[in-house]
């Protein structure tokens, strides 16, 4: 019945929910965007995210927009496995053809996914890198985790990735602690792409960087997403980031998705009152 073939999803999230503390159906009903809170008045539990669903295809970037506390980072951490999830499912096309809910996999199996299926770029590069280790060494980590045992090949691949992320090669053997924020972020990107994962999650990738530095990093990310045909989820409160990187996005408020739209449509014709507030604040 569908004459338009859209590329099939590589990442599918269905009814994802995360609650901190005990909860009942009532807790859910008493929280959310309409209620203006994520906190259940009865139990004090926090409904950090509830009923979040979306699909991302290869070569596509989906934005998750919201202010801090909206639940956007929680969603990302649940998918990444950094956080346990309360309800819902996450499917990867590359795992069992998309039939397995990875949330039901063991913690160690989830960790395996982080080697070459799901890469994460954190807002703070220190979270994704070992600052005491060299740039090349940080990239050696995922490569060796994937079984690469040849020193020359590791060096070669690391230098390829570093030059692709525009880190000067003469700094490859410098300890990451000595790098500026923007440069650290580039190393984080290089490391994330080391094993060519199909899915990349980016959490506020340029927040905290100087504007000029941020622009360069964003442009780099955009180029990489295209070149590697990655399925990306970009979490940000910054609309310029969302605009630059994504074609579709969802808006989150108090843990719920309040709007889902094409990015240019969200920016020019936001519907939900909260989205309008966010967009007009960004525009001013």
């Amino acid at each position: 019945m569908n004459p338009i073939t859209t590329p099939e999803w590589v990442l599918k999230v269905d009814g994802l929910g995360k609650v901190f503390g005990p909860f009942t159906d009532e807790s859910i009903a008493k929280t959310g965007s309409d209620r203006g809170t994520s906190k259940d008045p009865t139990t004090g539990s926090i409904v950090a995210a509830w009923d979040v669903s979306f699909e991302v295809a290869a070569g596509e970037a989906l934005g998750v927009v919201g202010e801090s506390g909206s639940g956007k980072s929680t969603v990302m951490r649940c998918i990444a496995g950094d956080q346990s999830t309360s309800v819902g499912s996450v499917h990867l096309r590359t795992i069992d053809g998309g039939n397995t809910n990875i949330l039901h996999m063991s913690a160690s199996a989830r960790r395996q996914l982080r080697i070459d299926q799901i890469a994460v770029v954190y807002q703070d590069p220190a979270e994704g890198l070992d600052l005491r280790v060299t740039a090349g060494g940080n990239i050696a980590a995922p490569l060796t985790a994937a079984g690469l045992r040849n020193f020359g090949a590791i060096r070669h691949r690391a230098s390829e990735l570093l030059s692709r992320t525009e880190v000067p090669l003469n700094r490859m053997d410098d300890v990451v602690r000595s790098f500026s924020g923007g440069m650290r972020q580039r190393v984080q990107l290089a490391k994330a792409l080391a094993n060519r994962p199909p899915i990349v999650l980016l959490d506020e990738p340029t927040t905290g960087l100087d504007a000029s530095v941020a622009a360069g990093v964003l442009d780099l990310i955009r180029g990489l997403l295209e070149e590697f045909g990655l399925a990306a989820v970009v979490v940000s409160h910054d609309f310029s980031v969302i605009e630059m990187l994504t074609t579709r996005c969802i808006v989150m408020n108090h843990g719920r998705v309040v709007e889902s739209a094409l990015t240019d449509q969200l920016l020019e014709d936001p519907h939900h009152p909260y989205s309008q507030k966010l967009v007009s604040a960004a525009r001013s």
Binding site: S108, R111, D130, V133, T134, G136, G137, N138, A140, A141, P142, T144, A145, R149, N150, F151, G152, A153, I154, D173
Partner: protein
């Protein structure tokens, strides 16, 4: 009633003098043996055990001693070395302790022994299918240099996630041109667990691979026992394209036996002199005979 009890005790414990055979009571021996069996069943896995108070201070071979005392029987012959030397103070004391509590014979010739307890060296030759090599281990955790958190260490071994180790080898190579670890080189046992090979020199590492003898590693202070069963693969961790090299000093020969085929240690002095670390081996080869 008491007679029956005494009889039973006699049967189980045997020697009713104050000091049981091999110092340890039967329950201690049982626990150590169970730990050893687990260690042998899972090569390279560090088995926790209740390390007892021993007449040697912690850090002086109490773990190795407990292992030896756990496996020794009346038909064994013991050899004890420290850095290859049977006459090292530590070796002498340990041997005296073992012999006095078991009554078994001692020897310096590895081939004539059945159990060899050692600190930091493996005998150059003589170990065979009938031997148990007991190594004294100060730090059983090979990943200690790259990770401090105990739960994380347990996870890394459980999931065979040794990437932090590989990164440190990479960094070493980058910084120094070679992998500089000289003693206690980390090895992969049976393709599964990485072990600390106690501070034995690189020279001795190849002896562990596919050895005819059983190697048991005892760490008293850290309370761990691990094992490399006979004919088990032991591979030093290195990159495919960075060969594992053993120590060599070109031109060095033992001033006593003229050998260049054994592990040599340097004697400090105005002129550089070298001598075999394995004293027994040196004595048997004095004059250059092999």
């Amino acid at each position: 009633m008491t007679t029956l009890l005494n009889q039973l005790l006699d049967e189980t414990v045997g020697d009713t003098s104050d000091v049981p055979f091999a110092l340890l009571d039967e329950y201690s021996k049982r626990e150590i043996r169970r730990a050893i069996l687990t260690a042998v069943a899972v090569p390279g896995y560090q088995v926790p055990f209740g390390s007892r108070e021993m007449p040697v201070a912690r850090g002086w071979g109490s773990g190795g001693l407990q292992v030896t005392l756990g496996v020794v029987g009346p038909l064994d012959t013991i050899k004890v070395i420290d850095q290859g030397d049977d006459q090292g103070v530590n070796a002498v004391n340990l041997r005296r302790l073992i012999v006095s509590s078991t009554g078994i014979p001692e020897t310096t010739v590895a081939a004539e022994s059945t159990i060899v307890q050692t600190r930091h060296r493996i005998p150059e030759d003589g170990l065979d299918t009938e031997h148990i090599l007991v190594l004294q281990v100060p730090v059983p955790e090979p990943l200690r240099g790259v990770e401090r958190d105990m739960r994380e260490l347990a996870r890394m071994h459980a999931e065979a996630d040794y990437s932090k180790m590989w990164v440190s080898l990479y960094e070493d190579r980058v910084r120094n041109g070679v992998i500089t670890q000289s003693t206690g080189y980390p090895c992969l046992v049976n393709g599964r667990y990485v072990i600390a090979t106690t501070p034995i020199p690189r020279w001795d590492i190849p002896k562990l691979d596919n050895a005819p003898f059983l190697s048991l590693f005892g760490a008293g202070r850290e309370k761990r026992i691990y094992a490399v069963p006979p004919h088990t693969k032991v591979e030093p961790l290195t990159f495919d394209d960075v060969p594992f090299e053993v120590e060599q000093t070109p031109g060095a020969t033992c001033f006593r036996c003229t050998s260049s085929m054994s592990f040599l240690v340097e004697i400090p002095g105005p002129v550089s002199r070298w001598v075999c670390s394995d004293t027994d081996w040196c004595e048997r080869h004095e004059g250059g005979l092999k």
